[in-house]
C-alpha cells in the first residue's frame, strides 16, 4: 500500500529511482542547485556589491584572477574594466539571467498552454486561426523580433527609460516570441487526450469546457510541457545573453551574463581575457546542465524509451 507523506511517495517513485542511477542527471542537478542558491543569495555571499558605485575604484580595473601573476587576493576572479569584482558581478549577473529566463518561460508557458489548450480542445476555425498565427510567429526568429522591438523601444523612449525597464522588456519580448513552442506541443497532446474516453466521461458529468480543459486534459499533457520547459529556460537565457551582447539587453550598470561577456569583449585582445571568458564559461555551464536535465526528463517521462 502506498500511503504516507508526499516525500515518501517521491522517494519510492520510479522517477527518483531513475534519477539516482543517472550520474549525469545528479551532477547536473547539483550544479543547477548551486547556481540557484548562489545567485539568489548573492547579496549575502558576494564580497562586493557591484551595483554600488561608491565602492568601485577605477584603479582596480582589469586585475587578473587571484591565481595569476599580478592577481590580487581581494578579487578572486579578477576585476572588469570598471574595477568591479568579477566574482560578485557574475553572481548578480547570473541572478538576472536566471530571473529573466524563468520569468520569460513562465510567460511563454502561460500563453502557449492556454492557446494550445483552446486550439486543441475547440478545434475547427479557432484551431486554424491560432495555429496559423503560431506559424507566422515561428517564421520570424526570436532574436529578430526581439532586436526590432527592443531597438524601436530604445529609439522611441530613450535609453534612460529603457535601462530602468530592461528586465521587464526582455521578459516580455522573449516570453511572447516563443509561445508557439508550447502551443504546438500542448495542442498535439490535447488532440490525443481529447479522444480518450475519460474526456467523454467528464462531459457526461456536465462539467464546463474550461474545467475539462484545465483540470482534466492539462495534467495529462504535463510531461512534454515539463521537458520543453527546461530546454526553454536555457534557450531564454541564451537569447537574453545574445541580446545583451548586442547591446539591446541589460545595461552595463546592471549587467547580466550576456552584457558582462560583451563588456569584456573589447579587452580580450589586450590580454584581459577573464572578463569575457569566465562569465562565458559560467553561462555555458548553466545552459549545459539545464539541457542535460531536460534530456534526462525526456527519457524518464517517455514510456517508449524505458530502459528495462
Amino acid at each position: 500500500m502506498t500511503t504516507g507523506t508526499k516525500l515518501q511517495r517521491l522517494l519510492d517513485s520510479a522517477f527518483y529511482h531513475d534519477f539516482r542511477r543517472d550520474k549525469v542527471a545528479i551532477a547536473s542537478f547539483i550544479i543547477l542547485c548551486i547556481y540557484v542558491v548562489a545567485c539568489y543569495t548573492a547579496p549575502l555571499i558576494a564580497p562586493y556589491n557591484p551595483y554600488d558605485p561608491t565602492i568601485i575604484d577605477i584603479m582596480d580595473s582589469e586585475i587578473p584572477p587571484a591565481w595569476l601573476d599580478g592577481g590580487d587576493s581581494r578579487f578572486l576572479l579578477g576585476t572588469d574594466a570598471q574595477g568591479r569584482d568579477l566574482f560578485s558581478t557574475i553572481l548578480y549577473g547570473t541572478r538576472i539571467s536566471l530571473t529573466i529566463g524563468i520569468c520569460a518561460v513562465v510567460l511563454q508557458a502561460f500563453l502557449g498552454i492556454s492557446l494550445g489548450l483552446i486550439s486543441g480542445y475547440f478545434g475547427g476555425r479557432v484551431d486554424n486561426f491560432l495555429m496559423r498565427l503560431a506559424d507566422i510567429q515561428l517564421s520570424f526568429s526570436t532574436l529578430m523580433v526581439a532586436i526590432i522591438v527592443l531597438a524601436v523601444f530604445q529609439a522611441l523612449f530613450g535609453t534612460e527609460l529603457y535601462e530602468r525597464l530592461a528586465i521587464l522588456m526582455l521578459i516580455l519580448v522573449i516570453g511572447i516570441a516563443e509561445w508557439p513552442q508550447y502551443a504546438r506541443t500542448v495542442r498535439a497532446s490535447v488532440l490525443a487526450e481529447k479522444k480518450k474516453e475519460y474526456v467523454d466521461a467528464v462531459r457526461v458529468i456536465g462539467l464546463r469546457p474550461m474545467r475539462i480543459m484545465f483540470r482534466h486534459i492539462l495534467p495529462n499533457t504535463l510531461s512534454p510541457i515539463l521537458v520543453i520547459s527546461t530546454v526553454q529556460v536555457a534557450n531564454a537565457i541564451v537569447s537574453e545573453a545574445a541580446l545583451s551582447f548586442l547591446g539591446l539587453g541589460m545595461p552595463v550598470t546592471q549587467p547580466s551574463l550576456g552584457s558582462l561577456i560583451n563588456s569584456g569583449f573589447e579587452f580580450i585582445f589586450s590580454g584581459s581575457w577573464w572578463i569575457t571568458i569566465i562569465p562565458g564559461v559560467v553561462l555555458i555551464l548553466l545552459v549545459l546542465v539545464m539541457n542535460l536535465l531536460g534530456d534526462f526528463l525526456r527519457d524518464v517521462l517517455n514510456p517508449k524509451l524505458y530502459k528495462n
Partner: protein, 322 residues
C-alpha cells in the same frame, strides 16, 4: 408521465458527400425505476442513441428530428447550460472500459466529488463524506483509503465500481450504461451486474442498459429493444422477446447463443454483416440476411405491427412463428 420518452428520434451524420442516417424513427419510453435493455450488433446505433439522449453526439453527427422528453422537458431544445445541469445530475452514464473512463492523473476522490461540486453548492467536507458513502455503497472495502488513491492502484472491477459510484453520487433518476461489463472478465461481469441490479432495486433509479449480450438483457431488464441498422426492429417485454422472438433478426441472435448449439457443432450465426449506413438496402434493412425474406421485404419498408406486448417491424412477423 414517463421518465423518458423518445419520439421519432432521427440522428444524421453530415459527411462530406452525403448525409448518413444513423438513427431513424426511434421511439421508446421508460417509466420511473424501469430497466430497459438495448441490444444489437456493433454499429446498430445503440451508443448513438445513448449519446443523443444526453445531447452529446459529436460532430459531424446531429439530431435531425424527433424529441426526447425527459421529465417532461424536451432535451433536444435545451440550451447548453440547461443541458449541463442535467448531465451527470439527472442522467448519468457508465462507459464500457473503466481503464479508460477514469482520468489517470486525478484521485478517485477528486473525480467523484467533481460531479457534486458541479451541480450542488456543497462543502468539501460534505462532498468527501458523500463520496466515501458512495464508495461503500458499491461495496468497495476501506472506502476512505480508496478516496485518496489513483485509478492505477485499483483493479478493473474496482474501477468499474468507482465509475458506477460516480454515476450514482448525484442520485439521478436515470442511468445509461453503455456496455458496462464488456471490458471485464466473466466473474467480475457477474459481480458488477449483480451490483447494478441491487442498486436499481435499492434506489429506484431507471436504467438503460446497452449491450450485445442477450444473457445480460434477460437477467437484468424488464423491457428490451432490438436495434438493427439504426432502427428499432423489435421492442417489448424482455421475457417475450427472449422466449418468443417475432423478428427474424432477434431470432437469429437467440439462435447464435452458444447454449443453443450442441458441443462440437459449429455455432449458429446470422450470415453476412450489418450493411454500412450508406448502403442500407431497399425495403427491410435486414432482407439480405433474412431466412424468411420474400418479395415484399425487398420492395416495401416494414412498418411496426403490435403483437401482444411486442412491437415489431417485420412483414413476416404476423404470418405465424418465424
Amino acid at each position: 408521465m414517463s421518465l423518458l420518452e423518445v419520439n421519432n428520434l432521427e440522428v444524421r451524420f453530415a459527411m462530406r458527400k452525403e448525409e448518413l442516417v444513423a438513427l431513424r424513427d426511434v421511439s421508446f419510453r421508460l417509466e420511473k425505476g424501469e430497466r430497459l435493455g438495448i441490444v444489437g450488433e456493433s454499429g446498430a446505433g445503440k451508443s448513438v442513441a445513448a449519446f443523443s439522449i444526453l445531447n452529446l453526439i459529436s460532430k459531424p453527427g446531429y439530431i435531425s428530428g424527433g424529441e426526447i422528453l425527459f421529465e417532461g422537458k424536451d432535451l433536444t431544445r435545451l440550451s447548453l447550460q440547461e443541458m449541463s445541469a442535467i448531465r451527470g445530475n439527472r442522467i448519468s452514464m457508465i462507459f464500457q472500459d473503466p481503464m479508460m473512463t477514469l482520468n489517470p492523473v486525478l484521485t478517485i476522490g477528486t473525480q467523484m466529488t467533481e460531479a457534486l461540486h458541479a451541480h450542488h453548492d456543497i462543502s468539501r467536507e460534505e462532498a468527501r463524506q458523500r463520496a466515501i458513502d458512495g464508495l461503500a455503497e458499491v461495496h468497495i472495502p476501506s472506502a476512505a483509503t480508496r478516496f485518496d488513491q489513483y485509478p492505477h492502484e485499483l483493479s478493473g472491477g474496482m474501477r468499474q465500481r468507482v465509475v458506477i459510484a460516480i454515476a450514482l453520487i448525484t442520485k439521478p433518476p436515470l442511468i445509461i450504461a453503455d456496455e458496462p461489463t464488456t471490458a471485464l472478465d466473466v466473474t467480475i461481469q457477474a459481480e458488477i451486474m449483480h451490483l447494478l441490479m441491487e442498486l436499481c432495486n435499492n434506489t429506484g433509479v431507471g436504467l438503460i442498459l446497452i449491450t450485445h449480450d442477450l444473457g445480460i438483457i434477460s437477467q437484468m431488464t424488464e423491457r428490451a429493444i432490438v436495434m438493427y441498422a439504426g432502427r428499432i426492429v423489435e421492442e417489448g417485454d424482455t421475457r417475450d422477446i427472449i422466449n418468443d422472438a417475432r423478428h427474424p433478426y432477434t431470432d437469429g441472435l437467440m439462435g447464435a447463443l452458444p447454449q443453443k448449439t450442441t458441443p462440437g457443432q459449429r455455432l449458429n450465426q446470422i450470415k453476412g454483416g450489418m450493411p454500412p449506413l450508406n448502403g442500407i438496402p431497399d425495403g427491410c434493412a435486414f432482407n439480405p440476411r433474412c431466412p424468411l425474406a420474400g418479395d415484399i421485404c425487398r420492395s416495401t419498408f416494414p412498418e411496426y405491427t403490435t403483437i401482444g406486448t411486442t412491437r415489431v417491424a417485420c412483414h413476416m412477423a404476423g404470418a405465424g412463428d418465424p
